[in-house]
Symmetry: C2
Subunit: 467 residues, 2 copies
């Protein structure tokens, strides 16, 4: 008995130690030269980076660039020229048709309590219809969820429905708070329109309590034309104020006016640049962001940052003498904000052409200080990616974990591809997201450059170790 126990415990010890060993084996695949190469990539990004200057042009010379706008077309031409000038092996435009929504004149809104008028910072949501030419006025029903609105049903008739569920500030990653609220913005009109509401207003999607309305895409789903209602976002400060006044004055009148409209779909493009792989030219690794942005700011964080970082990936590889084995595609996706036509088209063409895409990386979380990557990949590769943690940690890239990737590369998903999202620090992102405050001056040069270097390092590792 004693002997059996002894043998058993010895075996268990061996088993537990062999586990450690198998992780070690993976660690060993990480060559010392990787650590030197990554250091060189970061050095060159910080000493000779171009991304910040490029972002200055995209943000300040071109500006906000909603799909179908002249600015979006300028951005396409800028991206094509830049990648051509950078000597990519191949640069081309991939034609798509995109939704074409225009904001029209600046929106107006106020509410009146005891003859006092409170002006409300407001903006139409992307895809919304206009109000009547002189605006609309109605009583307000405040709700905290789509479900609550649905349950009110017919009581919404003739009312302006006010969706006011705030961000959960206790969520450390602010994207989770956004994810917990954004159904109000996307589906608010869909739920209330069918009950004959006059319109819908939505608390802006931000942690910050301030005076800026944040736009973003909304949908009418399957509503009939006559069921569609105008929909807008109001600033969080105004939302708090309105909510306060509604408690004492449930019959107060809210007015808003907007003249936005949807024009026929417009022709546009994904912009694609390629560095042809030296060993496996028929295997693709894609890196990209989205070239379109909302119209209120200049789209510096969303997603000018992702665009310039993706182009910088190719430049930094070249600058450091790294000749990728696989073909690296830099894709400036069009129309992420209100249709995702660019991402869909790219995947569709890849399928049609029987392309073998082994990995893709998207940067669409702002140009902030690096935190890591999330990945969506099969089990064997997951172990490999996690084994890179020690290589990336010195650069603040501690997070290497399962999670979503990005809206533009999502359509590439299949059983074999590894999809990655670049995950910078998220604390400030929703202060600027889709608002007039998303401007170049909010981007810190070093943070942007560190992001470009982080992405380049990941692409380097993927190119080196993925099969």
């Amino acid at each position: 008995m004693k002997n059996t126990l002894f043998t058993l415990s010895f075996l268990m010890v061996l088993i537990s130690c062999s586990k450690v060993k198998s992780n070690k084996e993976i660690q060993q695949t990480v060559n010392k030269t990787d650590s030197i190469t990554i250091k060189q990539i970061f050095n060159s990004a910080l000493n000779e980076g171009q991304s910040y200057q490029w972002l200055n042009v995209l943000s300040n010379d071109i500006g906000g660039r909603l799909s179908g706008s002249p600015e979006a077309q300028q951005a396409v031409e800028w991206g094509e020229k830049l990648m051509t000038d950078l000597d990519f092996d191949k640069v081309w435009l991939q034609p798509i048709m995109v939704p074409h929504w225009v904001r029209g004149e600046k929106e107006e809104a106020y509410f009146i309590v005891n003859n006092t008028k409170f002006n409300v910072p407001i903006c139409a949501l992307g895809g919304s219809i206009s109000t009547l030419e002189n605006g609309i006025t109605g009583e307000v029903i405040e709700v905290k969820s789509l479900k609550e609105a649905e349950e009110l049903g017919e009581k919404l008739r003739g009312k302006i429905v006010f969706f006011n569920r705030p961000f959960d500030d206790t969520l450390i990653r602010t994207f989770q708070a956004y994810g917990g609220c954004v159904d109000q913005r996307y589906s608010g009109a869909m739920v209330t329109g069918k009950f004959g509401a006059l319109g819908a207003i939505v608390r802006s999607m931000t942690n910050s309590i301030d005076d800026y309305p944040h736009t973003g895409v909304m949908s009418y789903g399957d509503l009939l034309e006559e069921e569609k209602v105008p929909t807008a976002a109001i600033s969080t400060k105004a939302a708090n104020l309105l909510s306060e006044y509604l408690k004492e004055n449930p019959a107060l009148k809210f007015y808003f006016k907007q003249s936005c409209k949807t024009l026929p779909d417009a022709p546009s493009f994904n912009v694609i640049g390629e560095i042809t792989g030296s060993e496996f030219p028929e295997k693709y690794i894609t890196v990209g962001g989205h070239l379109d942005s909302w119209d209120l700011g200049d789209g510096a964080h969303d997603d000018g940052a992702g665009i310039v970082q993706s182009i910088e990936v190719a430049r930094l590889l070249k600058l450091n003498g790294i000749k990728p084995k696989h073909t690296i595609r830099v894709v400036l996706f069009m129309n992420e904000e209100n249709g995702s036509k660019g991402g869909e088209k790219y995947a569709e063409e890849a399928k049609k052409n029987n392309e073998n895409h082994i990995a893709a990386l998207e940067s669409d979380s702002g140009g902030f200080t690096p935190r890591g990557f999330s990945f969506d990949a099969n089990g064997e590769n997951q172990k490999l990616f996690i084994s890179w943690k020690s290589l990336l940690a010195p650069y603040g890239l501690h997070d290497m974990e399962k999670g979503g990737s990005g809206a533009d590369i999502g359509p590439l998903k299949n059983d074999t591809i590894s999809l990655f999202g670049y995950r910078p620090d998220s604390q400030r992102y929703f202060n600027y997201h889709h608002a007039e405050t998303d401007t170049f001056d909010k981007v810190n040069k070093r943070e942007l450059e560190l992001g470009a270097a982080s992405m380049t390092s990941l692409i380097y590792l993927l190119d080196t170790y993925l099969k």
Copy 2:
């Protein structure tokens, strides 16, 4: 032989596994309730935090508060009142004498090349003497190091010595780049004054290439009165421009004027608040930042952030029903910027009163998003601290490693105390440090609050596990 080898290898396996076990044992001291408590601390900081509102008062109502200034005195009174209002068990002022340097009128500087005048953003360094009333003019000698200046020796006579070694941008932690340059600012005049130079100008201590001069303390060391020369910082953009023009025009004339002076030492105070320990009231854990700031900005990041976070630590403990076993001292240190008299005095009094200080934490790296803590402690405690990593990582606190703590708590160092520095992300810090851009609007509310929660969590763990 075979048997011996077998026994030997078995023993080695056991030894290597026992190592794992001993780490596990430490891990087990980390109770599950700790993770719940830390979550509660973060929730309350993010939902009901006060630090941001306090910082608004300190930055915007009081403003820059250099030692000896009326604003520094206002800050003392504000801190004393705030901690009293928050029902600390004890609040008192600890008298000290502080250096009293005043800037005087706004500085002026320019250089002339081919009759074209280039204005230079400039500010006197703290502790510097003034120029002649009408300023001084001289030829410029550019150097990259104190050693280079020292070697030029007598060639410096009658010249303005221009220290122009830039930050090493490839260092991921910007404090390391600062550490690699700041000798020019602190000792530039000390080295050049003895050779009869007219004055010294120093490239601002920042990664950013912009138009803001960054002040900071300098020293004349043992120079005789007549050897002292006026010393100032110029903006990085101006430094680059001047350096460029010097190549073609080595004889160009640089002019600067400043009217700063050092007044007699002034009376001031550390502000101390105490929560008396329930089990070991005679054992102290100190948490603090520095109340003084440079005069150019409003000292929001340096170190208003550390001040309000330290006070918030005590409030968050109380709010979450945590009754510390040890006595927690919140210390608002005076005069970190140009004399460290507050830190010295606090340690001196602690020694005189035979106080048993077991730990101290300083926040003096800005109110940015959390990255971790550095510690200076003995070996056994180091293991304990590292075992907390998994508790802190969900909040972005990945760095828990040996390193410096802070200038104010440094004088407490002995063989047994554990000293900690709070280490937020450092990418933006030197854009603002000691410049007019260090203002409240550069602080993000969530980042500040996350810092306060991080510090509270560490103090909670120290109070729970340190002996």
